[in-house]
Symmetry: C2
Subunit: 455 residues, 2 copies
């Protein structure tokens, strides 16, 4: 963090144009705060459409809504980019109970969600003794006990990580790979502590994947209270859990990235991409994840049009398909860019929620980042406190791999993000209008500066 | 803001001790994030006690709770400092309706709260035509129309202020002085748009005061939707409102500041004060305002004891009485300090909510602030992004006036604060545990540095 701070203090001599830039960014801010549509658009996306997992009818509705909305916002061109998407379906309500403690039958219902992409329990319940472990090391030490049983991973967020995103990265391994690592030793089902520090009992879903070498066992996430209960119980008793899930894949579905363009005046064949992802998990409104990124993207289009801003580079505003459980939209976008030999200068993603701004993280050459850090005083008044190395976004990552495009990710304050991330509580009511608009202002300011000065 | 940024970039050469300081502040952070009690204490204060306006039985309970809790946290000494407090009572439910539009009777119920310290409508409803004005200038231009009518002030937050606290300062005049300014021209009641940009209909109370030269007319606040409705209605129709409030003052009540001390090892007769206010409005749990400040204060005591920190200066942890509608606790504390000829080096208040940290604002000599700004890299990892001129707190203000004590106010991010401030929605559920704890960490870090290096 010391290093970050020194970066923050990199030379900050502003060029002669800086007061013009400050004025233009103030215009952006005033217009967004007075006339911004991001909050209304988010209400439409979350309340009129709602959950929109890839392959669902709602995802198709969201594509139609995105296309129409961006046309209405006055883009020079709006078009759809087709891609095939995995089509995982939860298949009904996930159910789980503790059914026996020390041999005595009980029925304590647990609030659970099957992990995304996981296979259901095959029409009947998985019922077995639970082997509870704190982490993979403990799994290994107990591998002889696992056969025929259910493994419970209690891996917790490390509360001393100042950014919960760090904890999420660490704990994410258990959600993504925990099932197969347990199946390797004969487990017939897996449960994880949800990837959250929330002080509630909402379970959090999210993508997992199987290692094809082992049986594809069902996998569920528990909310925080139930996780604590089970973990404490495991310290004093032997117990059984029964759970039933219904996840399955339907044939791949046709989906689309929604792409709006403002044509560049000087470098029309060089692209700047701004985006978020249009899909969400099936259990919530995807308001922060990633409704916020979708409407940030649309708001920047809106304000550039409202202010009559004519970008030097062509700017693409992209609502990506299928980030959550396939990344097919982001991959398709990069494939097409490469196939068409497009030049992509810069891509910026918002996929960390609609919270108050903190900064931007970059995947870029050190020298270029240093140059950009001179812009910090222009964005600081609106909440940006750093421009640091490290960041981007899942959907724009393939563009960097395919074409070496410089990336940035918008970093809102993430203290609350993992309270609602992939849980039922990621709803419109948990997004604050001003925090949402401030995100769009800082992103628009950064894109304006990149467009004006290049990298 | 440009000036602020330059201050932020003041010389940042860290002294040789800085790595020791970084380590100690990391210890504070780790302990607070792992073992912090602030969230649990806030649950007790908000859920077990609840609303605690000065003079209410709940305020007395809060004093007892604060005293016992700070004893349990291991303070060297905990004592109560008596003060008399105003004892305003809402006297029942506030009621209001639009009862006629263009002469036609209707009954559209409005969600309202009487302003704090306002006099009720005397057992019967105030019923009259409404003269709606955008601001005081429009009031003056319509002064001939006001006699016998109700004045409605539609003064709105300026959304282009990046910090809503600025807007609150501007709009606050209407709440505090609007009634008497309308009564001067013969108004028989006053309504204001609540001091908020919240996207809901909660009315927000808060202190007002009368000018004794004019009749003490009843005064209410409307929620955002009702305010919009009335303002739009006023543009096209003549309409009447009827409202009934019951506010009154009981005889002054005995109250107390709760004071805990850690005795200084080098300068036991020089004090550093950390505080928040224990009272809240009567309509909510006072979770952010100022339960957060109360538990920030207690958490700093807890972590200093947990780490065995022996301060050089004596530190007082003060839960102030009666900030909301009288400031008698803050005044009493300064009076006693002056009467006892105490030396007060520094006072820090948290009374802006339990949100994610942004920085600190100071009332201090410029040279001393510059010195403190060298500490910024030590606090930056935990969320502090500036140490700027301008700030303090209502309760510690009198200490500065009486003794010239240097002041600081903790500035959390305030984008959400005025959504819930003085409204029914200021409840425990709207406080995020991690954001709350981060506030305590940054405050504890600043106090540690002031204690170690002086000013």
């Amino acid at each position: 963090m010391k290093k970050l701070f020194l970066l923050l203090l990199a030379p900050l001599c502003l060029s002669a144009q800086s007061s013009d830039d400050a004025l233009f960014i103030k215009k952006i801010a005033d217009d967004v705060l007075q006339n911004g549509k991001a909050h209304d658009l988010l209400r439409q996306l979350t309340k009129d459409i709602g959950a929109r997992l890839a392959g669902s009818p709602e995802f198709t509705k969201a594509v139609e809504w995105g296309e129409l909305s961006m046309k209405n916002l006055g883009a020079d061109r709006v078009y759809l980019q087709e891609c095939m998407m995995p089509n995982w379906n939860r298949g009904g309500k996930d159910e789980a109970s503790i059914v026996a403690v020390d041999g005595k039958k009980i029925n304590r219902v647990l609030d659970v969600l099957a992990l995304g992409n996981s296979m259901g329990s095959g029409g009947k319940a998985v019922k077995a003794k639970v082997i509870a472990v704190a982490n993979f090391a403990e799994l290994e030490s107990k591998k002889e006990l696992i056969k025929g049983n259910i493994v419970y991973y209690n891996y917790k967020f490390d509360p001393t990580n100042i950014e919960p995103g760090t904890s999420y990265g660490q704990a994410g391994l258990y959600r993504r790979t925990g099932a197969s690592r347990a199946a390797k030793y004969g487990a017939i089902g897996v449960m994880i502590r949800s990837l959250t520090e929330a002080t509630d009992n909402n379970p959090h879903t999210g993508a997992m994947a199987y290692n094809d070498s082992f049986p594809k066992i069902p996998a569920i996430a528990l909310g925080g209270y139930d996780a604590d209960y089970i973990w404490n119980l495991s310290k004093q008793s032997s117990f059984e859990v029964s759970f039933k899930t219904n996840g399955h894949f339907l044939p791949d579905a046709k989906g689309h990235n929604v792409i709006a363009e403002l044509k560049g005046t000087e470098f029309p064949d060089q692209y700047i991409t701004i985006g978020g992802h249009l899909d969400s998990w099936d259990v919530n409104e995807g308001a922060h994840d990633d409704g916020a990124g979708v409407v940030h993207t649309m708001e920047i289009l809106r304000v550039f049009k409202a202010l009559g801003y004519k970008p030097k580079h062509s700017i693409r505003f992209v609502l990506f398909a299928n980030e959550e459980n396939g990344l097919r939209g982001g991959n398709k976008y990069a494939e097409e860019a490469k196939a068409n030999n497009e030049k992509h200068l810069f891509a910026l993603e918002s996929d960390a929620g609609g919270f108050t701004p903190r900064g931007f993280g970059f995947t870029i050459e050190e020298e270029k980042l240093k140059k950009m850090q001179a812009w910090l005083p222009l964005l600081f008044p609106y909440g940006t406190t750093y421009l640091k190395m490290g960041g981007g976004g899942a959907d724009i990552g393939p563009l960097n791999k395919a074409l070496g495009t410089a990336l940035a990710g918008f970093d809102p304050d993430d203290q609350r993000y993992f309270d609602i991330h992939h849980a039922r509580s990621d709803v419109f009511e948990n997004v604050n209008k001003r925090e949402l608009l401030l995100g769009a202002i800082n992103m628009a300011g950064l894109v304006y500066l990149v467009d004006k000065y290049g990298l």
